[in-house]
Assembly symmetry: C2
Homo-oligomer: 159 residues x 2
């Protein structure tokens, strides 16, 4: 269980097991495929009637990421997010819609192979990776097509 990993890592480094650290980790464990930023975690804690200082939220997220329990991700909107790292150590990957911001996840063995190859070629000890594909989701693409049609019709009726 992930909570045990946290406790083990903390003991190993002479750091303390606290209510705040366990609670923040639980937030991630309770929600599947969550991508939370510090502010969001802070709000979720308030909803649970747990008043934890923002400074502690930031500190804990950094700590959990340092332990490899969370992975840091940035979608390009200026907010740093975190998600639970998977048990098997496999990074999971994101497909992001440029228009509506919707995020879909996918996995690929090819990336793990690529990681091995690049590691050998460069001498880097690669620990994890982050892959983001940017594009337009099917829904947004349909909307764009419809708008183009409307504009065409509008310009024709002006003539």
């Amino acid at each position: 269980m992930t909570l045990d990993i946290l406790r083990r890592e903390l003991k190993k480094r002479g750091q303390r097991i606290t209510y705040q650290r366990e609670l923040i980790l639980k937030i991630f464990m309770e929600s599947e495929n969550a991508h939370f930023g510090a502010e969001e975690i802070y709000r979720l804690l308030l909803e649970k009637r747990s008043r934890i200082s923002k400074a502690t939220v930031y500190r804990t997220l950094a700590l959990l990421a340092d332990f490899g329990i969370l992975n840091k991700i940035e979608f390009g909107d200026g907010i740093v997010r975190y998600e639970l790292a998977s048990f098997d150590g496999k990074s999971h990957n994101h497909l992001i819609c440029k228009i509506c911001g919707k995020v879909v996840e996918f996995e690929s063995d090819k990336l793990d192979e690529l990681m091995e190859t690049i590691s050998k070629e460069t001498g880097y000890r690669i620990e994890n990776y982050q892959v983001k594909f940017y594009g337009i989701c099917p829904d947004c693409f349909k909307k764009i097509l419809r708008n183009d049609d409307n504009q065409k019709i509008a310009s024709e009726s002006v003539k």
Copy 2:
């Protein structure tokens, strides 16, 4: 030439060709494989005795990214950086050292294939991607090994 692309895009949208816009683009064109953030561009401009307002630097970087002339990249250190988009439309990829922050670039056809596959599977129109591998560079790894040795020696001599 990339400057012509800028001029063409500006005209197309009824926007103006200005000294500042061209100068900021030239900064990127003059340096190979550069990953510049707004603050860095501002400093480089000052060194060239060009006092351009920070607001304009931010606005211009966003504009050039919007035109597809620059690509936005984030290495996870809290700074938004930009780099010249390649002519062939191929995204290039980054291998980042967690310790010293050194960045190495690499290319891979496998990623283009993967992009095609995921595009078909999900229905997304994927336009570009961003791949970051995080790890420890050979130099930093050597240093870690040395420190471990020293600590071992120190703890032995204490006994």
